[in-house]
Amino acid sequence: MIELYHLQLLSAILFALGVYGVLARKSAILILMSIELMLNAVNINMIGAAIFLDPNQIAGQVLAIFIITVAAAEVGLALAILLRLFRNRVTVNVDEIDIMKW
């Protein structure tokens, strides 16, 4: 029998992996993937709460749909920014992207 805390533990594991990826990776694309990992961890949590705790089972799922929408928009925008960046600097290494530091 699946319990709610199983889902929450899975979500905690994936969120922590995403945090590690964002902090440890150099390539902007890999950082983006880690962010996707974190967004998905949140989704698991939302759906778990919706199915187990909400009598209607609706609200959490709707929120998960919104998170997926925002994630899709974010990936599209990030691709555009990475392309522009790559055209200007010929790198996606976040250590070399320091022109907005000041």
């Binding site: 029998m1 889902l7 899975l10 905690a12 440890a24 890999l30 199915i51 009598p55 599209g76 920014i81």
Partner: protein
């Protein structure tokens, strides 16, 4: 039975997540991410959220990973596809373990006594109904966000302009 399936799917998702943050090859990382996202769709199926599982496969498995692979292809450099990590990776690991500790402690200490429902209470119809009545305004804002992101992406990625 469902718990065994959940452990398989959750284990696959975890393996994929570890692969995403550790592999040296960007393309492998994208494929590991795909593994995680599809395993996640399996988890959604196991907890009766069928519609979300389908959305997950379509949007994440299809579109998002596709866009990420496009990003990898279009930003190739000479050292492609090998990459190295930041020197601060150890700090990142400590932060990640701390985040996991806090989250897991919070989840385990306050465990609500709510058994898994036998069957889904919601139907696809009631989900759509809620989306267009109770959640109509956030829904419209989400569509606006998508539109703005689309236009912004086109303008940013357009060739030419001020370099």
């Amino acid at each position: 039975m469902s718990l065994a399936l959940f452990i398989v799917a959750g284990g696959l998702a975890t393996v994929g997540g570890i692969g995403v943050v550790t592999t040296r090859n960007v393309v492998y990382a994208a494929l590991f991410l795909l593994l995680t996202l599809l395993a996640m769709a399996g988890v959604f199926l196991l907890v009766l959220a069928e519609f979300l599982a389908l959305v997950q496969i379509l949007i994440y498995g299809g579109a998002v990973v596709m866009v990420l692979i496009f990003a990898i292809m279009l930003t190739r450099t000479r050292e492609f596809p090998r990459i190295s990590d930041n020197p601060q990776w150890l700090l990142g690991a400590v932060a990640a373990v701390a985040v996991f500790g806090v989250l897991a402690a919070g989840f385990l200490i306050d465990r609500p006594d709510a058994p898994m429902p036998e069957r889904a209470v919601f139907t696809l119809g009631s989900l759509g109904n809620a989306l267009f009545t109770q959640w109509a305004l956030p829904f419209e804002i989400a569509s606006l966000v998508l539109l703005v992101a689309l236009i912004g992406a086109i303008i940013i990625a357009r060739p030419g302009g001020r370099e």
